[in-house]
């Protein structure tokens, strides 16, 4: 399938936290139309694309992006108001405890690390907090929060022989590095979806 060609769509196969997946195309879908789906709570529009690289179609898995955790208003009152505030009454303790550090790091100046480091943006804090909130993990120690040179954040947990680093890139990508020092093993990569992030955190939660 090439971009611009007609494609087909069926009823959603299943609905996840982050999108709608379609399977087994069975009816034409016009070229000029755009298929969009939004999911309550996350307000994330996801699209299921197929790539024709190498002549065979293969699904492209979406990766988690914190930038898609739009600051959805808690109530209708907030829809039209624009004053930037982050509601804290529903946050898990570890997220609430991390918030001051996230905001504080946004005060860093350009070249903060003397290697051309970019300071994190204040606008990024609210969607990141929402992403962490939506993992629905209540019992987790407060992570170390450090800035990255590229203007993102890194959350770090150290528990016994286990370490977990979650890097929130400035462009929205979420990456992880999980280490088991005892076994000398490491896993790393992009976090595919909210469930994958939740799984990583639950594993650390179980070790606390």
């Amino acid at each position: 399938m090439t971009p611009g060609s007609s494609t087909t769509v069926s009823s959603p196969k299943y609905l996840t936290d982050l999108g709608v997946w379609f399977d087994e195309p069975d009816q034409p879908f016009p070229d000029e139309a755009l298929l969009s789906a939004s999911v309550q709570r996350y307000r994330v529009a996801e699209f299921s694309f197929r790539d024709c690289e190498g002549g065979s179609e293969k699904p492209i898995r979406p990766t988690l992006r914190w930038t898609e955790f739009v600051a959805l208003p808690k109530s209708q009152e907030e829809e039209s108001a624009t004053t930037p505030t982050i509601p804290i009454d529903e946050l898990a303790p570890w997220v609430r405890q991390s918030l001051p550090k996230l905001l504080q790091l946004c005060r860093l100046g350009q070249n903060w690390d003397s290697y051309g480091g970019i300071p994190p943006s204040r606008k990024s804090v609210h969607p990141i907090v929402r992403l962490l909130q939506f993992t629905e993990i209540e019992d987790l120690p407060q992570p170390e929060v450090v800035p990255t040179s590229e203007g993102g954040f890194q959350l770090e947990w150290y528990m016994g022989n286990h370490e977990l680093e979650i890097e929130l890139h400035r462009d929205g990508a979420v990456e992880f590095l999980a280490s088991d020092i005892e076994n000398g093993t490491e896993r790393e990569g992009l976090v595919d979806d909210l469930n994958a992030l939740r799984t990583l955190l639950i594993r650390m939660s179980g070790r606390s």
Partner: protein
């Protein structure tokens, strides 16, 4: 400019951080992206900064939706240089906001903000007419006041919060539970005459700009019927303002009023 009613509660150090006046409307022909660009040209001398934000749907529009056709236009913000005034435009809404940015800006008062909104709305209608678009029909009006009550002013710890709000003041006679760790509530009132509803939301928040913890008290009046008609607009907003200001005075305690230097 309309005069302020002399018996309306008034504060020298009001905690108001933002005021929004706006309308939701329907049009026979939808605004297109180039209309927004042209409208920006009309007001760009006063509102030179442009931002795009996610469209926020009405409550009943949330949930799974499959649509075909062009993607929806974003909500566009047209801001003044200081960021204290903005026009928000999306296909079905026209909103005018005044807000504090540094926290030091004096509150220009409702009358001035209302008159500016009405001027902008008239200007927007003239723009639509010049573009050959039909006059929109207003389906809902909105007036919202956002108040920030910073920690360290009239409250310092969670157990102080009931001393700020009359609806939390009464001692519930708890003998076991400690003060709540967090607090959030929503209240709704219906003014007489089916002219809308007053929504009140209280929650704890952190103000992003200065990292200050605040109690955020939002009071929003909305007329949900196909009223008011254009000619009723100023009257509707004045009634909504009265409900919000008198409601704010009712919902907050005398102790808090002293903190905000109540005059009337």
């Amino acid at each position: 400019m309309t005069q302020r009613p002399i018996d309306l509660p008034d504060f020298d150090a009001s905690p108001v951080a933002e005021v929004v006046l706006g309308v939701r409307y329907t049009t026979p022909e939808k605004l297109r992206v180039f209309h927004i660009g042209r409208y920006r040209d009309v007001i760009k001398d006063e509102f030179p900064v442009f931002e795009e934000h996610a469209l926020v749907p009405r409550g009943e529009e949330r949930g799974l939706r499959l649509t075909t056709g062009p993607p929806p236009l974003p909500r566009c913000w047209l801001l003044n240089e200081a960021g204290t005034k903005l026009v928000q435009l999306q296909t079905d809404r026209f909103l005018h906001n005044w807000r504090k940015v540094t926290g030091e800006e004096p509150y220009p008062r409702y009358e001035a903000i209302r008159d500016e909104f009405l001027r902008r709305w008239e200007q927007f209608l003239r723009f639509l007419e010049a573009e050959g678009l039909a006059k929109p029909t207003i389906v809902e009006c909105e007036l919202t006041y956002v108040n920030h009550i910073p920690k360290g002013t009239c409250w310092s710890k969670p157990s102080d919060i009931p001393g700020v709000f009359t609806f939390l003041r009464d001692d519930p006679g708890l003998s076991f539970l400690p003060p709540p760790e967090s607090l959030a509530c929503n209240l709704r009132y219906e003014p007489p005459g089916e002219r809308g509803k007053l929504h009140v939301a209280l929650g704890q928040a952190v103000r992003t700009q200065d990292e200050t913890e605040v109690l955020r008290l939002d009071l929003a009046a909305r007329g949900s019927l196909e009223l008011p008609r254009d000619e009723d607009l100023p009257g509707w907003f004045d009634l909504a303002r009265e409900w919000i200001v008198r409601g704010f005075a009712d919902l907050t305690t005398e102790k808090a009023h002293q903190c905000w230097k109540r005059k009337v």
